[in-house]
Every structure is written in structure tokens, then in C-alpha cells.
Amino acid sequence: MNDMTSQGYVTPDGRQIGGTLMELKNITLRFGGVVAIKDISFDIRQGEIRAIIGPNGAGKSSMLNIISGFYTPQEGEVWFKGYRRGPMKPYQVARLGIARTFQNIALFDGMSVLDNIMTGRLNRMKAGFLAQAMWWGSAAREEDENREAVEKIIDFLEIQNIRKTPVGRLPYGLKKRVELARALAAEPKLLLLDEPMAGMNVEEKEDMSRFILDVNDEFGTTICLIEHDMGVVMDLSDRVVVMDYGKKIGDGTPAEVRSNQAVIDAYLGVAHD
């Protein structure tokens, strides 16, 4: 077991954060000759909201893709729930309890909101293809159970009114919410959000922030998010990793990060040699 015994901490708003859920050790990722991520280490603890920030091209999305198992780093180790993780297929990652949303929404446009969210529960359906097609035996019961779980999420994210609407007809902000719903439907241990607020107006951002906090609070889901909007990041997260040019330049609470000179330089800009 790796580090699961380490003590958690208590956030300023009184939430108890647990031990390490995921640990990334000395990660280096290269695309051919380009080094996207260079020797980065950090951890994500049980129940916390962890943000990864950085200027464009800092390697944030690559980092998220490593966490989600989509990329395998050339060097370094990824530990999840105390076990070292080797290269994995996406469905294996999903079974481990990791779900994600995408920067450019990846939903099925022609399907209803309800059906889209139901796809998030595919991992939990065991009935065979034939039984499902025939609506027979355990398949029907399974669908009822899963529908109930999905309805709770629909209620939670307040999208009852668009339950039967095809996703293609929805405005951007709502699509984002549906994507979050689908990720939640998998009942993940770790939820990865890739720029959940990108392209949203202030009101939509506020709504989304509230939902992220509620998800964390209500389901105890650990959340790791990438976000550009600094205000949102500082308000939401418990701890922040700051990346720049593939390197980690800061790590700590929002207050610590805000006063970190390297971070200020990266954001306000200093001359690079």
C-alpha cells in the first residue's frame, strides 16, 4: 500500500479531506521529441477538489489524459487507490471509478438527454445483448434500477425539463451540464473535468460552480479539474497545481499559489531566455 495511511487535512470550510486517492510520481510525457510534461509529481486526496491550472500549452490537458489513463507516460508512476497502474484501456479506467468530461463536448447529439446519461451507466449493466433487446428477465429490472439512479442525477442537476430533448437541440451551457450528468451516472470515485466553464457566461459559470461543489459535498466525489478562469479555480478548489511549459511551478492552497512568485511570473509574464 502506498501512502493510504497518510493523514488528511481539514479545509477552511470544515470538510475533512482523506488520504491519498491518486499519486503521480515523476511523470514525464513526450510526443516524439517534444516534452509535454517534465518530471511532475503531485497527489490527489480523497474528497478534495484539486485544480490544475496554467497558461495555454502548459500541458494541463496532457496531465488530465495521463490521470484518465488515455496517455501512458514514458517515465514515472501513476498510483491509484494504493496500486500502481499500468497501461490501460478506457473501459478498464472507467471500471476503476474514473469518469471525465471533455473540453469540446462529446455527447451523442441525436439521442435524448436521458439516453445520453444512461450511457454513463453502461458499465453497471450486466445483462447480455439479447436479453436487453428482448427486454427480458434481469435486463428489464436492471434498466429500472439504472433509470432510477439516472433520475436522481437529473433531479440533482435540475435538468428535468429537458429529459426527453435531443442533446443536439440544447444550448452550450446545458450540454455541459448533461455531460457532467453522464460522468456522474457512472458514480465515479474520481471525476475529471476538462475546462467545465469554458465558453460560459457568468450565470452559467455560477450554476456550474454550484453543481461542482454540490457533487463534491453530496456524493463525496473527488474532483480534479482544469480551468482557465482563475476566479473560479480559486473559489472552488482546495489545492491547486500550477503548470508552465510542462513543469510544475506551484502546488498548494489557492492562497499559497496566489502569492507564489513563480506563478505570478508565469501569469503576468516575464522575459524568458
Binding site: G14, D155, Q160, D214, D217
Partner: protein, 658 residues
């Protein structure tokens, strides 16, 4: 149980009616609510069990006779149960508007001295907690939806389900006390206290007794032959007297089913699924539906459009006549029958009106076009006139005598007279007991003989014998030259255009009338999309020259129609502007029931009013707005002011003569 065997001759309280309904309709559905996508239902017996458990729980928490219990949340069975449970304990339920901001809520909670508050969800709990920092006396909060409340300090707070569980556990101990309290309720006990929306000044607490509610429910149910098979959808604010009469008074008297939608935003889907037989909506709901039907028809294929146009034409000619039982030719009947098959019934189904037997609208004037549209579909839509102080019903239209410009004949048991000033007075069994803690206002409104001043000016139509309402009595004024000024009359004409959401006409004591206009974002936005007009915000769209042009045409048409009435021709609009923001209850510009507050608008937009009268063609303004979370901000805009053509006007003739 003892109270369930009360003889039917002594139905003197809502709990007594509940007991009767359990005995008579025990296994019929009393309440339905859509939750998690499925309609949940409770029979009268099940509902009575839930209510009793809640009442016992409230008793255990210390609810005393004469206490006030505020209820704030959306329409849910649990909230209706909360009101009945409070009555059982001898307390007075006080439903509040759930979209009220904390300040407004603070006034009401302090005024009624609520010890208990039943909240729908976290949002309402937060508001009540905020209020309780300044208002003393709020002792217990009960909430329905647990979400987000797990970590709150629960020393004075309980989930409704937990209160019920405690009540069930204490049934043996507290049952006799509860039965005693239920038995003590009589016809003069307070049934409910409702706060008026307060078009002027602070809200007033209208005390309504069991007599008021039950007599009114009985009379009005008989008027429309309502029975236990009706289905209604409860979606209007619980704090509004109409909802209390329909979803509580009449539902209890008749024993029909109250259906609660999943939420405000799913209302239209839920309405369609339920297909109510008895339905009430303010004109703006009917307007909104008609607008969306028209917009969707514009997008439909050519054949569908042609069918729709043809058969709606037939329906407009034949439908209302059929409803009123007037003679209709065989060809027309056949044509209408075909239209029903192809267009009307599918459309009614899409709107959720397939089963409507009786529909009412009230609160504002409804446009004749809109009214006729629904009548043409064969929907028995009628108008009524009422107010909180009357337990709603003052006048209503009997079947077969429906007109768009009247509000009907006095309801059963109601006497109506018109004072010399033109103000309408009434007296009825539904007339309120008093304004709570406000004897002066009570005395000013209700005289010793029980006549109540409505504050509305009106007259009885000589032909039909129906009442016609012109305007608020105090709003009817005089222009500088002494001619009559009835702003609402003109505003209503303006609002009948789908592009215009709200209008405020100014002119009391002035030389001529002017107007501030709010565009309807749905209708105008759709038009903009259709014509490839880009806009970034409400403000930008409102200021668009082509929008101004359209509004100018509407104003001109209204002026022409106003000019045809010699008494009111002075009310034509000479100058107008399109407002840069929607009038909003959160900003105090309207009441929660969406009635324009003239004094507030005159004061808040004083710069605009000045500009309307000093001849300038544009005005720069900055307006404070309140966001939904209570924060304040401001918007700046430069508004154009345009002249509108006027017709046959004395003043203009004078100018021409010079």
C-alpha cells in the same frame, strides 16, 4: 379515528373535509406529484395518514393553537399537507411567495410572528436563516427537500420526513391532544392567512376563516358543477389566494385530485401528461402558449401551415358559437368536425387541454384575439373577477355567456354594487375577516355592513348585464385638459401585441400621454432570428431601429383604436420609448403577481419620464438591477424617444388650425 366519523353536516373546517373525503373517496387519488420522472400518487386515505403524522410531529415540536406557520416553497403535496397539519394543530398557515427576496420575506415573517416555517429546499432555508438574524421569534424550521442541508445546524431544524416519523412514534401520546384541537375548529376559526401582493405599500395579511373558504368553494363548485372526478394542476404560487381556493378549498370540498408538477420549468410537459379537466391560468400563460404555437407553426412545413390556417379560420367562426350553443349550419359543423380531427384536437393535446371542461383566466385583461383562439379550439375558457379579500370570486362568466371584454355576473352568494365614483363594491360569505394587525386598513376597506371596496372602477354592461372593469379606481385620473386618463385601458391594448410584454402609460395631469414599453424577448427574438438580425443582449435588441419601427406601428394602431372611443381619445400615446430592461419584481417595479407599480416606476425612471415630456429625442440613463441572488448591479443605456402618430385628437387639430 374519531375525527374521521364527523357527520357531513358539520363540515366546518378543512380537516373535517379531509376526514369526509377519506370516508367517501378513500381509495381515489388525492394528490399526485411528479418526482424522478414518475408520477407518484397518494389516495385520500394515504394523504390523510401523512398529514396526521405531520400534524403529530408539529405538535411534538411545540406548535401551539394560534401560532402562525409560514410555508414557502413550490407547489408540492407536502406543502399542502403542511397547511392542513398546521390547521389541525390549531395554528394558522401562512403561505409565502417562494421567489420573494429575503427582505420581503422578513417583513411578512415579522408581521405574522411566525414561530414555525416550512421551507421547500435549501434556497428557502437560507433565506429564512438570514431573516432570523434580524427577525425574532422564528423557532423551528422544517424543510421538505434534504439536499445540501445535511451539514446545517439542526438544533432548530428538521426534515419533514423526520418530523413525520417522530409524529408517528408519538401517535399514542399526542393523538388525543390532536383530536381535541381538530374538534375545536369551527366555521369562524382562521383557515389561512394570505398576504396581498401589495401594489401599493407594504403587503397586508388577509385573514380568511373556514366559513370564507368553505362557503366560497361550495358556491363556486356548484356554479361550474365541479365534482370529485376533476383533475387540476397546481402550479400557481401557493401564496396566491387562487391557488388556495382551487388546490385547497375546492379540492377539499369536491374531493378532486391535485397534481403537482416536477418543477416550474417542467410545467408545460406535466400539464400535457395530466390533461386537467379544470384549469386556471393568468392571461400571460395563455398568451405565452399562443405565441409559442404561432412561432412553431411558422417553422412548420407548407402543408401543415395551410391546414392550420384554414381550419383555424373555420374554428374561429364556428368554435365559439358551438360553445355558446348558438345555431350553426350543417356545412360548418362538418367542416369543424374535420378540423377537429386534423388540427384542433392534436393541437389541444399538444397544449395539454384535451380534457378541459372549465377553464378560467383572471388577474389582467386578456386580449380578444387570444381569448377567441382558445374558445375557437372548443376550450370552455371563461373570465372571472376576484381578489384575495373576497376569497377570489366576485363575478364570473356562466357557461354560454362568455365575452372577452367582461368579467361576468356576480358569483353565487355575492352582492355587487357600483358606487357613484364608479368604484366596485361587493359583499359575500367569502368576504375576509380582517387585515391582520391592521384595524385601520380593515375599516377603510370593509364597512360596517360588510361591503368591501375593490379599488377597481367598472360598470355593468347594459346589454349583457355583465360587469366590465376599466382600471384601478385610483389610477383613473384626469389629463391637464380634464379628459379621462385610464392608463391600463391603453396598456392592455398595447400588451395584446405579442411583441409587447409590458407597457406603462404616463399622462395623469399632463398635456398628453406617453408610454414606456417592454418588448417580449421570445417573440421579438424569434423575429430577429428569422430576419437575420444579430443581437447580443436584451438591451441591444430593444434598441434596434427595426424593433422601434414595429413598436411604432403597434402604438399607431392602438392610437387609432383608442381614438374611436370619444371618452378616452385623450389617452392616445404621443411619444414612447422602449425600455432597456425588463420590468422585474426583484427590482420592485412590479408586484410578485406581475402588476406594474406606477409610483415606483415614476420615481425610478424619473429621468426617462422627463425626457418623454421635454421633447428630447434620446436620453442616457443608468438603472440599478437586482440579480436573482440578491446582489445589485447597474446597467447603462442611451434610449431613443420617438413620436407616434395620433388620430382625431383635439390638441392636434388645434395645432393644425393655428
Amino acid at each position: 379515528m374519531a375525527e374521521r366519523l364527523t357527520p357531513s353536516g358539520e363540515l366546518r373546517s378543512v380537516p373535517a373535509l379531509l376526514a369526509r373525503n377519506v370516508a367517501r373517496f378513500g381509495n381515489r387519488p388525492a394528490y399526485r406529484e411528479k418526482e424522478f420522472g414518475i408520477w407518484q400518487s397518494w389516495t385520500w386515505a394515504e394523504a390523510a395518514d401523512e398529514i396526521r403524522a405531520l400534524a403529530l410531529g408539529l405538535l411534538a415540536l411545540g406548535l401551539k393553537p394560534g401560532d402562525h406557520m409560514a410555508i414557502v416553497g413550490r407547489n408540492r403535496p407536502a406543502h399542502y399537507w403542511g397547511m392542513i397539519a398546521a390547521q389541525m394543530c390549531g395554528a394558522v398557515p401562512v403561505p409565502l411567495y417562494q421567489d420573494a427576496v429575503a427582505d420581503e420575506m422578513a417583513y411578512v415573517l415579522e408581521h405574522c410572528g411566525a414561530r414555525f416555517v416550512l421551507c421547500g429546499d435549501q434556497e428557502q432555508v437560507d433565506k429564512v436563516l438570514e431573516v432570523s438574524q434580524t427577525v425574532q421569534g422564528i423557532e423551528q424550521i422544517v424543510y421538505t427537500d434534504k439536499r445540501g442541508l445535511r451539514k446545517y445546524d439542526h438544533s432548530r431544524m428538521n426534515a419533514l420526513a423526520d418530523v413525520q416519523a417522530e409524529g408517528r412514534a408519538a401517535a399514542q401520546r399526542l393523538g388525543p391532544e390532536l383530536d381535541r384541537r381538530i374538534a375545536a375548529l369551527d366555521y369562524d376559526s382562521t383557515c389561512v392567512m394570505l398576504y396581498t401582493s401589495g401594489t401599493t405599500g407594504k403587503p397586508k395579511g388577509v385573514v380568511l376563516s373556514n366559513r370564507n373558504i368553505i362557503e366560497t368553494a361550495k358556491n363556486s363548485a356548484e356554479f361550474d358543477r365541479l365534482d370529485h372526478r376533476e383533475e387540476i394542476v397546481a402550479y400557481l404560487p401557493m401564496a396566491w389566494v387562487g391557488d388556495f381556493i382551487f388546490s385547497m378549498g375546492q379540492a377539499m370540498w369536491c374531493g378532486f385530485t391535485v397534481n403537482c408538477p416536477e418543477g416550474a420549468h417542467t410545467m408545460m410537459t406535466d400539464l400535457r401528461e395530466i390533461g386537467p379537466t379544470y384549469f386556471f391560468a393568468p392571461p400571460r400563460v395563455f398568451e405565452g402558449q399562443l405565441t409559442s404555437v404561432m412561432i412553431r407553426m411558422e417553422d412548420a412545413g407548407r402543408i401543415k401551415r395551410a391546414l392550420f390556417r384554414h381550419f383555424m379560420g373555420v374554428a374561429r367562426r364556428v368554435g365559439p358559437a358551438l360553445l355558446d350553443g348558438r345555431p350553426v349550419g350543417a356545412m360548418d359543423r362538418l367542416s369543424y368536425a374535420l378540423g377537429r380531427l386534423l388540427v384542433i384536437e392534436p393541437l389541444k393535446n399538444a397544449l395539454g387541454y384535451s380534457r378541459i371542461r372549465v377553464g378560467y383566466t383572471a388577474g389582467e385583461a386578456i386580449g380578444p384575439e387570444i381569448f377567441d383562439f382558445y374558445r375557437a379550439l372548443g376550450i370552455n375558457l371563461k373570465q372571472l373577477y376576484g381578489q384575495t379579500e373576497a376569497s377570489v370570486f366576485i363575478t364570473q362568466q356562466p357557461d354560454g355567456q362568455v365575452r372577452s371584454d367582461t368579467v361576468g355576473v356576480p358569483s353565487p352568494g355575492v352582492e355587487v354594487r357600483i358606487a357613484e365614483s364608479g368604484e366596485v363594491f361587493y359583499r359575500s360569505p367569502g368576504t375576509f375577516v380582517a387585515y391582520y394587525k391592521n384595524p385601520e386598513s380593515t375599516a377603510a376597506t370593509k364597512d360596517a355592513e360588510g361591503w368591501v371596496a375593490t379599488g377597481d372602477a367598472g360598470f355593468f354592461d347594459k346589454e349583457s348585464g355583465h360587469l366590465r372593469i376599466i382600471d384601478r379606481a385610483k389610477d383613473v385620473g384626469r389629463m391637464a385638459d380634464g379628459s379621462m386618463f385610464a392608463p391600463k385601458y391603453v396598456e392592455n391594448k398595447l400588451k395584446f401585441y405579442p411583441n409587447i410584454l409590458e407597457a406603462v402609460v404616463i399622462g395623469n395631469g399632463r398635456d398628453f400621454c406617453t408610454a414606456m414599453i417592454n418588448i417580449d424577448l421570445t417573440a421579438v427574438g424569434n423575429w430577429a432570428e428569422r430576419n437575420n438580425i444579430a443581437y447580443g443582449s436584451y438591451q441591444e435588441l430593444a434598441a434596434h431601429p427595426q424593433v422601434y419601427q414595429t413598436i411604432r406601428e403597434h402604438v399607431a394602431e392602438v392610437n387609432r383604436s383608442v381614438a374611436s372611443d370619444p371618452m378616452l381619445s385623450g389617452c392616445q400615446i404621443h411619444r414612447f420609448l422602449v425600455l432597456h430592461k425588463e420590468l422585474d419584481p426583484d427590482d420592485g417595479e412590479m408586484t410578485r403577481t406581475r402588476k406594474v407599480r406606477r409610483a415606483v416606476i415614476n420615481e425610478k425612471f424619473a429621468d426617462l419620464v422627463t425626457a418623454l415630456y421635454d421633447g428630447s429625442t434620446s436620453v442616457h440613463t443608468e438603472t440599478e438591477v437586482t440579480y436573482e441572488d440578491g446582489r445589485k448591479g447597474s446597467i447603462k443605456a442611451t434610449l431613443r424617444i420617438e413620436d407616434a402618430p395620433v388620430f382625431g385628437d383635439k390638441r392636434q387639430q388645434k395645432v393644425a388650425a393655428q
